[in-house]
Symmetry: C2
Subunit: 107 residues, 2 copies
DNA sequence: TAAACATATGCGAAATATCATATATATGTT
DNA sequence: AACATATATATGATATTTCGCATATGTTTA
């Protein structure tokens, strides 16, 4: 995981919020992310595919749903970066966390 | 300083290396960065201008030279992110640190 | 098996970022 | 003042990224 590849992954609003929400919540499914971020299904899916390809996230299908988590093989410094960012930018994440807590229409 | 703006600044190889080298060295002048990274003068200058505009760096002219430092008003989490990244990616920075230690042709 | 649902992907258009070249500005030197 | 050096910026060409729409795949339920 080169730092430049890592930071290119964080340099998009959808991807950054996705990573930070998963950092806080351990795991989220596609429909939860789609609702929390209010984006189209292909959009969230394509960004998730990129994060998977770069090995920042891993996916796991359970029935109809696909759940995403941080890749447990992420280097410690990268996890620290995500946690530090998530813990200190609540204004940035707040509306989406609130939306998450309202529950998801599908799952 | 919104996290997305911060990470967009880190998402270019020249800018990321610039920020990490300055994190390690406290301050560097334009010609040192240009030599250490082996990039053209307009290129380093343009990226420095962007980092200035986003308030990640401050500049200070001393005679012919302009020195850049991290903006002291950077939020603590952002400084932590830079330090954690710089401290754990020596392979990424090593050639440039070595070049830096060889001294600069101009200053 | 078909229908419904959740997710993924192909593709072209639009937006954005990057770069090289040329040129401008500021400082120091003679 | 004239000139050399260090740095900044404008401009247009090129590359990269992002997105919307259409469609494909995989899973569950009827």
């Amino acid at each position: 995981m080169s730092p430049i590849q890592f930071y290119k992954c964080l340099a998009d609003d959808t991807r950054l919020k996705t990573l930070l929400l998963i950092t806080l919540k351990q795991e989220l499914c596609v429909c939860e992310l789609q609702e929390a971020l209010a984006v189209s299904q292909p959009k969230i899916s394509r960004h998730l595919a990129e994060l998977r390809k770069c090995e920042l996230l891993i996916d796991e299908r359970r029935g109809k749903w696909v759940y995403y988590q941080l890749n447990p093989e992420l280097p410690a410094w990268a996890v620290t970066v995500l946690q530090e960012t998530a813990a200190n930018n609540s204004e940035y994440l707040h509306p989406h966390l609130q939306q998450l807590s309202q529950g998801c229409a599908n799952c």
